[in-house]
Amino acid sequence: MTTEPMTVTPTPAYRQRSPLWFAWQRFSGNKAAITAGVILAILILMAIFAPLITPAPPEAQLFLTEALAFPSAEHWFGVDSLGRDFYTRIVYGARVSLTIGFTAALFSVVIGIPLGALAGYFGGKTDWFIMRIIELFSVVPPLLAAMLLGALTRGGYFTIVLIAALFGWVQVCLLVRAQIKAFREKEFVRAAQALGASPWYIIRRHLIPNSISPIIVGFVLAIPLAMMLEASLSFLGIGVPPPTPTWGQMINEGIDFMFFYWHLALFPTAALAITVLATTLFGDGLRDALDPTLKGR
């Protein structure tokens, strides 16, 4: 009985780490998410620096004689029916599709989260009122609204961005509302109330972080939904007016050519799919990273 067991081995010099540091550690361990992030970054950069990396302006019909040519060393993705380099069109198409997708997603966060949080937290009249607004936006399917608004305002790029934004938030809003409704009865929310935290504080610091995973999924889903809306509108002939290249428009045109000139349908669809896949994997990684309770490394 010589050793004194009560002495704790002195703790090594301790560095206080912020939760973000841990999140980053978790995120950087996720190869798929990192790859997705890199692809997304590349896509965004491509959209921004489109003029620098494409051989021709997107509208120039420089290759009319080669119209519909298949992919070749010269035209990586071939030439479209109007004699335009298809690779160029795809790169420029990223601009519109990404803007539409991300605007919608952004709006879903900017409108959806606060409204959903308000409705879920306060309930009662606030909830009733917000639910009626949500109802208005979800009762009228975005596509029909787009057709109506399009007929009214004569369509155009901004109408579509607007519609994607106006209708994209509903899902996130409902999700946040449901999640917050479920969480507001939890003890740790009560604990924060007991500390005198204001509702906004609780929503911001506790409820939203705890709802992060449906929020991210909703956010990530808003992107393909908006892009899809654009494509659907193009199908109905009321999308972004040509010659502005958009993936949706190209897919829609590509369908006509799908039987033979497969490249006209393949590349825009692939571009859309890759973008969304990257966003999804990135979102998944983000979600996992932001959730410290997740078991496993």
Partner: protein, 585 residues
């Protein structure tokens, strides 16, 4: 062949920023029918060892052992089917945190039934009957209703008992009970312990009892294992450990049992009490299902009651599990809206205040929740959690807040490097201390502490209570101390309120109540305090509700000055001593 065989068990958790060695080379053996007690400091690896035995640790845990066998099966090598067979049948576990252990979306009845049906071929009806029977055996009186309750509708103690019922329903070969009675009042605790012993005798069940309550150890087990900092310090029979502790830690443990505290300083006379509850009551609407029809009825969780918490005093609130203590505490904090009554803080009525006005009061009044696990935001690190009150009230810069939070982490006996851990990475006692630190960091003047020490071993408990006392002296803290731990209540509080089924049945200064309990329930409670000496095991008698009603004290009008009535009422029988009694002419 021993039922449980563990040799050189090591468990470490990998984390970003380091590795936590929770268990380092633990070995023990449990034979059939044997009961082993594990005591030890909070965070010493008791729960983790047992979870390892059932392979229930999260994926971050790395487990290694020379042998770790349960019922002859090597747990580490077992496949899925083996595990399903082992769990529940060979070993069942009563978890330390009953309040988060139930699936919130299924009724208690469903969850017990499904356990029964998983191991025995019984019809749904029979399983329900069995479940009801089990609930009755763990002293849940309205068992039939409770079967249809959802977990959130039960009190902490009731959940714990449901958990015990569920574990027993498996009829395991070895029952691992991780702090099974922390949320129970002593009368029920004693009954539960007896029940466990009875079942043990009936089925030849072995028992591993993890507890920090040496009284429980003394009463239930044959052999004791003392753990400290992930290692086994010593092992031996109960008598051996109690009479001739070998290890320094064991000695401190036993010594701290005898600790007592100085009485509180003088109450500030004349000034308004720190907290006063007037006619506070809470009624829940519960639905009862009969076939397809559901009927609504009122459940009086708390009947109108008055409690006065004078400045700089500690009032103990004790009572049967499910008697409404938590509800009272939550109402006092305006966290549960009372059905009626007033709450006065420093003379100001806060029961009708809006959130803005209330905020000022919130700073002065704090609560420690009974269920510390769910009271901690799972998405926040400990330093964030503890600093949160400062953050809310905008005290200091972020840096200072963190610094202060880390200081408080140390004050409640946790190392500073816990600051960046998350609540699910803690042991039960560690979580509880975090909750206490958060409640104290603002320096409140009123504190409602709901079982703040239930998961703490005696040494840490002593430390925490020392801390509370210190604060009381320092800044005039007044505290409503809800607890089942009568020895702590006795040594800590100035006066005691006893609750029974939503009512106050007795209220008196601490010495008076321990020396001269008037109400039969109070008496039963004091009788049931477990001994802390293994040789003093004694049989106790329990009183049913009817017996209690029959034994209600009777006083005359002359004795009390109250008007006679057919129903019991609170009467004052001595200065500051009130008791529920029937008043006769």
């Amino acid at each position: 062949m021993p039922l449980v065989e563990i040799e050189n068990l090591r468990v470490s958790f990998s984390q970003y920023g380091g590795q936590v060695d929770a268990v380092r080379g633990v070995s023990f053996v449990v034979n059939e029918g044997e009961s082993l007690g594990i005591v030890g400091e909070s965070g010493s690896g008791k729960s983790v060892s047992c979870s390892a035995l059932m392979r229930l640790l999260p994926a971050t845990a790395r487990v290694s052992a020379t042998t770790i066998k349960l019922d002859g099966v090597d747990v580490l090598k077992a496949n899925k089917e083996d595990l399903v067979r082992l769990r529940g049948r060979s070993a069942a576990m009563i978890f330390q945190d009953p309040m988060t252990a139930f699936d919130p979306v299924f009724t208690i009845g469903h969850q017990i039934c499904e356990t029964i049906q998983a191991h025995r071929t019984l019809s749904k009806r029979d399983a329900l009957a069995e479940a009801e029977h089990l609930l009755l055996r763990v002293e849940i009186k309205n068992a039939r209703d409770v079967l249809n309750y959802y977990p959130h509708q039960l009190s902490g103690g009731m959940l714990q008992r449901a958990m015990i019922a569920m574990a027993l329903s498996c009829r395991p070969k070895v029952l691992i009970a991780d702090e099974p009675t922390t949320a129970l009042d002593v009368t029920i605790q004693a009954q539960i312990l007896q029940l466990i012993k009875k079942v043990q005798a009936e089925f030849g069940m072995a028992l591993i009892m993890i507890t920090h309550d040496l009284g429980v150890i003394a009463e239930t087990v044959d052999r004791v294992l003392v753990m400290y900092n992930g290692e086994v310090m010593e092992q031996g029979s109960v008598a051996q450990i109690f009479d001739a502790p070998q290890h320094a830690y064991t000695k401190t443990l036993l010594a701290s049992l005898k600790a007592s505290f100085d009485p509180s300083g003088d109450a500030t006379e004349g000034a308004a009490p720190a907290l006063e509850l007037r006619g506070l009551a809470k009624t829940y609407r519960v639905s009862r299902r009969a076939g397809l029809r559901t009927s609504q009825s009122d459940f009086h969780a708390v009947r109108p009651l008055d409690i006065v918490l004078p400045r700089n005093r500690i009032v103990g609130l004790v009572g049967e599990s499910g008697s409404g203590k938590t509800t009272t505490g939550m109402m006092a904090m305006r966290l549960t809206e009372p059905s009626s009554g007033q709450i006065l803080v420093d003379g100001a009525d806060i029961s009708t205040m809006g959130p803005a006005e209330l905020k000022a009061f919130r700073r002065r009044m704090q609560i420690v929740f009974q269920d510390s696990y769910s009271a901690l935001d799972p998405m926040m690190t400990l330093s964030q959690i503890i600093a949160e009150p400062l953050h809310i009230h905008g005290i200091g810069t972020t840096r200072e807040q963190t610094e202060k939070a880390l200081d408080w982490l140390e004050r409640v006996g946790l190392p500073r490097n816990f600051g960046s851990r998350y609540s699910h990475e803690l042991s039960g006692g560690q979580r509880q201390r975090v909750a206490i630190a958060r409640a104290l960091i603002l320096g409140p003047t009123v504190l409602v502490a709901d079982e703040p020490t239930s998961a703490l071993d005696v040494t840490v408990k002593a430390q925490i209570i020392g801390l509370l006392k210190e604060l009381q002296a320092e800044m005039g803290l007044s505290m409503l101390f809800i607890s089942h731990d009568l020895s702590t209540v006795k040594s800590l509080t100035d006066s005691v309120v006893v609750m029974y089924r939503g009512r106050i049945v007795e209220e008196a200064p601490t010495e008076a109540i321990f020396a001269n309990p008037q109400h039969p329930y109070t008496r039963a409670l004091l009788d049931a305090i477990p001994v802390d000496n293994p040789r003093d095991r004694r049989e106790r008698s329990f009183l049913s509700a009817e017996q209690l009603a029959a034994a209600t004290p009777r006083f005359t009008t002359i004795q009390t000055g109250a008007t006679p009535a057919d129903t019991p009422q609170l009467v004052t029988i001595a200065p500051h001593h009130r008791v529920e009694a029937l008043v006769t002419a």
